[in-house]
Symmetry: C2
Subunit: 761 residues, 2 copies
Amino acid sequence: MSNYFILPLRALIIILTLFPLNELSSQIHSAINSKKRPVDYVRPFVGTQGEGNTFPGASAPFGMIQLSPDTEKELWETASGYEYSDSSIIGFSMTHLNGTGIPDLGDFLFMPSTGTPKLTPGSKAYPDSGYRQRYSHSDEEASAGYYRVRLTNSGVNVELTATERAGLMRLTWPESDSAFILTDLSHVLRWNVVWSSIRVESNSLVTGMHIVNGWAKNRHLFFAARYSRPFDDFRIINDGKPVIYNGYRFRSRMESAGKNIQFIANYSTKQNEVILVKIGISAVSAANALKNLDAEITDWDFERVRTATREKWNKELSTIEAEALSTEGLETFYTSLYHAFLTPNIYQDVTGEYRGYDQNIHTAKRFTNYAIFSLWDTYRAEHPLLSLIQQKRDADMINSMLAHYDESVESLLPVWSLQGNETWCMIGYHAVPVIVDAYLNGVKGFDAERAYKAIKTTAMNLNYDNVATYAKLGWVPFDKENESVSKTLEYAYDDYCIAMMAKALGKTAEYEYFLKRSGHYKNLFDPGYNLMRGRDSQGNWRTPFYPHLYTEGGDITEGTSWQYTWYVPHDVPGLIKLFGGNDKFTEKLDSLFISEADSTKGVDDIAGRMGEYWHGNEPSHHIIFLYDYAGQPWKTQKLAHEVNNTQYGSRPNSLCGNDDCGQMSSWYIFNALGFYPVAPGSNTYAIGSPALRKATVHLSNGKDIFITADNLSSENIYIQSLKVNGKTWNSPFLPYDSIKNGGKITFTMGPQPNKNWGTDR
Amino acid sequence: MSNYFILPLRALIIILTLFPLNELSSQIHSAINSKKRPVDYVRPFVGTQGEGNTFPGASAPFGMIQLSPDTEKELWETASGYEYSDSSIIGFSMTHLNGTGIPDLGDFLFMPSTGTPKLTPGSKAYPDSGYRQRYSHSDEEASAGYYRVRLTNSGVNVELTATERAGLMRLTWPESDSAFILTDLSHVLRWNVVWSSIRVESNSLVTGMHIVNGWAKNRHLFFAARYSRPFDDFRIINDGKPVIYNGYRFRSRMESAGKNIQFIANYSTKQNEVILVKIGISAVSAANALKNLDAEITDWDFERVRTATREKWNKELSTIEAEALSTEGLETFYTSLYHAFLTPNIYQDVTGEYRGYDQNIHTAKRFTNYAIFSLWDTYRAEHPLLSLIQQKRDADMINSMLAHYDESVESLLPVWSLQGNETWCMIGYHAVPVIVDAYLNGVKGFDAERAYKAIKTTAMNLNYDNVATYAKLGWVPFDKENESVSKTLEYAYDDYCIAMMAKALGKTAEYEYFLKRSGHYKNLFDPGYNLMRGRDSQGNWRTPFYPHLYTEGGDITEGTSWQYTWYVPHDVPGLIKLFGGNDKFTEKLDSLFISEADSTKGVDDIAGRMGEYWHGNEPSHHIIFLYDYAGQPWKTQKLAHEVNNTQYGSRPNSLCGNDDCGQMSSWYIFNALGFYPVAPGSNTYAIGSPALRKATVHLSNGKDIFITADNLSSENIYIQSLKVNGKTWNSPFLPYDSIKNGGKITFTMGPQPNKNWGTDR
């Protein structure tokens, strides 16, 4: 062997030492592409200020554990625990809801500090009254799967990263002889820990659990935490008192149970000393939390975990390769995709076990169990997105919903399910469109007949929200049931979906039955007003009738009659007919963007208001596409462009309403591509105005959709012409069939509407 | 075929119809024996009045479920829930402690009634203020595995029976259009339900759970109840409010979670209509509670279950075939055996799963898991009895204790364990004598080396009750630890047991180490007083010293120095030597039965007082046998006879102290046979005065011990002579080796002491 070999080998060793293999390969990848990668555009702070209710912390895609700083634990409007405007941090908890309107989770708070431990968080006004610490956005950062902040009071630098079921905290300390890491088992967002327990298994392993009576009424969660350095000492605090042996009747200082438990691990630290804590969680048992932890994080290599999770994100985000008009456009797009992939969440241990809605422990067989289904929101765009580009996960989610149905004491598919609980939040039975859309989109991996049976049983339930009365009478009567108009309309749409699935399965009688029910919306259309209006059990109209009135507990869900009148996604032509034709229809629709609701009361976290069109809440989400059905697609294009540009962005305050487990973000993803699923289950998209110059969508079946928007600019927002798979396309609708095996969608854009385009049906 | 055949066949069918096969065979059995069977002598009311703290309800031998009426739920002194003197019943709950001094359990109360349901129990003084009902002992009965009472207020006749993990209630109703069965999930004895949940799975199946913060700090229990007749209607009550859907946000009326939950099943009943409810329990899950129920009670045949359980009892009780001087003597004996076989309890589902001390779900492999180890009590006679005649169960119990050790955060064998919890009640590490006694008695089925490791680790623990200080210093110093004298003495005995096992396992160094520790009792013997006396860390005697003072939290556990001075069960000759010989020893011992404690305060449920000898509590239990060691065995005989006859019996008030999970009863069983294990682990019994005329003890190895007491009468209480296996026996001690393979023990009794007998050592 000559020196020729030896010298390059040495050089290679040096290179490999300097650049671990992952980083090297990623640099090569960047070099080849000579541009940033999708993951680089994720801005986790988007939506953390104001109404978005997102969180900036660390999560793997669809992760069960989502570590994030909490700045607020009581306020309804800070449902994710973090508000960008807050100047102090309570600590770092393990679970979070992405963008809901109601707080919950925030399990198991960890807070590193120095000095004498305080046992309560203190207030935002007086942060030093508790264990809260101040921080500055200038010393805080977040990226996909990573979060960092320096806590001002103690000087501890906190970094978070996560795998699916385990989190890793890297704490860099000042020199201190009174350093400690506090764990508060009583911390949750907004609600109450009713029971908890803790065990100090060794000087570097702690396990515990709590039960939370929250939005989810009966939620059990366990954790196991390993410390990279054995603590010098420790103390459990139960209801403000140290758990110590008082010399009378023995009790172990290593375990306790109660409602209000803290654990303190004490250290003397050197300047810049690093201590890591890794935490696994499980809804099943402490033993499973430890299994999850030890299976997913086998070492103490923070950078390895961080990089691996970042790579997972990049892989998931690369499902759509996008070119935008600006960096902000790419940031908005990939942050939306990031938000869409935060929820639903894996809810199953590495053993396959999970805690079901019946509180029994089940083992998921041939599927991965998911939880947190905000279905009234996510059936609209989040799930249609998943049924396009995440079919494997979508099938798993459907199997999870079917398991929930099996475990439901009412034999109902989930309405708004949260970690083995049903919150019964919002209305309708919108697991139905999720399942039907997936089935008709060809998602494989669930039993269609079993799913259909669950759907039908759900729609025939005798107890839930007067569905039975609706089925018999033709509407939900307002004297029997709250939000009767919205419920009638949404049931009718869900029933349309059932009819579509019955038809596909050859169940003709049931197809006809549910198709008939899907027409029940007509019963609430008052031709005197050309508006939807409540009726009582005797058929009398709601009198007096205030069409612009927003009122809690009235006939409309989170909105006004003027808004909900447009909720017939499955039969817009039928609705137009009720209006008396396109002109009367579009005339009233135009007025929606000018009129104002009578009351300023109501849901105050809904912004994005363009007249009485409120983009910040879901009932409006499909409305701008209705112009496509009424011969005025250019209005759809104009409004889609306006919403894309005014209601989204890459700043903390860029979300105009609750992200609602990815629905707000998924709306954007579809609209950036140029189309939107007005009625999931119909297999038809309505075409809007694309925000991306180019996009390659990698479908779950391995095929690609190539989308280009020629001449797109901030002025050129109107479609001049369109080709689909090379053929001229003059319809404002895009059937799923035309793209399901991949294809090409070529928009040509211009500054003025082409009123001749989109006139075909 | 001739009529010869047809007629007898018809007759046989008639006979079989009149007498189901079980009853027929039992009648034949009785006929052959021409006498009553052991099970017929069981009087479950024994110990239910006053200090005994037993319960009269229905249980299978060592059953996990023990259904019984509760008359009291708050008072410390009614720890089993039932006091014979009470005149009203709160209801019937599923679990009970037999004879403990502290209340707990009483899970899941069922109460049938009529009229408007009340939701709270009401008080004993004003029973009609709640769901309590009056009853009369004249319309109440109990036998092994069966309990019946007629509730005066409603007229419902309630009958209870049980298998190991499931209970069956037979309710016979008056005619009523407002009959109901209330289940109160918030009912437990003395302590607090911190969380509970319920599900109405169908119109004849209900499941639920609760978590109890009680004596056991963190106890989880589940149930499943099937109703023989579907209820006409039902209602869940949560914190006093009905769980109904109010028309706003849906909630199911079929499930709820909270701290204070009741369930009411409504019926219209006909006169004498029978409705049965069967209930399974589990510490693992509702699903397992249902599995336990469905595996063990497959039908609605109350009589079948009752008879099968009665047969189980008869089989277990027949392990000792006894002949007494009177029916009351047999009742006392077999009721004692019945009490000895009520606890420890099976604590494992039919799946093999159980909830461990670490709150994780474990599966018992190659053993049956037991719970409820009142070891400070039961190491004395209960476990030595089991190691003689229930070796299979004793091995299972030891394996259960080893599992507890594995699950213990402190790596300690159980001290006083209660359904997956450690109560740390009482003192010492008396799992040790249980294991060592079993090992030396040849109990098979557990790993001796594993057991020894757990024993040694327990005895070397650095946290528990200053054991480490004791090991170093030679005593537990009173300035560091409460009850320091009792702890020192009991540790010394436990250490003797460890030494015996170390010796048997060939661990010479450890034998010597623990044998040395077993002599630590000498360090607290004050020759100035000839009494045990506390010393502080510096070696100073407790001053002032009150030898007769009973005081909570002093140097002595539940007693006085005068009593505890006799606690050197493993080295009585050594103790005698400290006194300065037999005369000084017996002189002081005589005085024990005359002297009185200074304080009347203290444990007020200890009766059976003969001077300062308190048979109602365990520290006295071995004392009367010490005369055997000091050359005066006739005094042992006299006192054994006196205790047998004055402190036991077959009436509700016949127990003079807490039965303590069978210890008080096991004392009697040994003494009725004529001997007692003063120091379990020593393989030696001290001989007393037999109460049975004849007894055949069926050992677990298949051999039999035949015991006769010739000339025994109420006057002939002194041993005149003794033969063991045909040989004249002049020692007051009976080595286990002499009877382990069966044998004959023949007492000859007379009215006067034979002071020449028992002089050999």
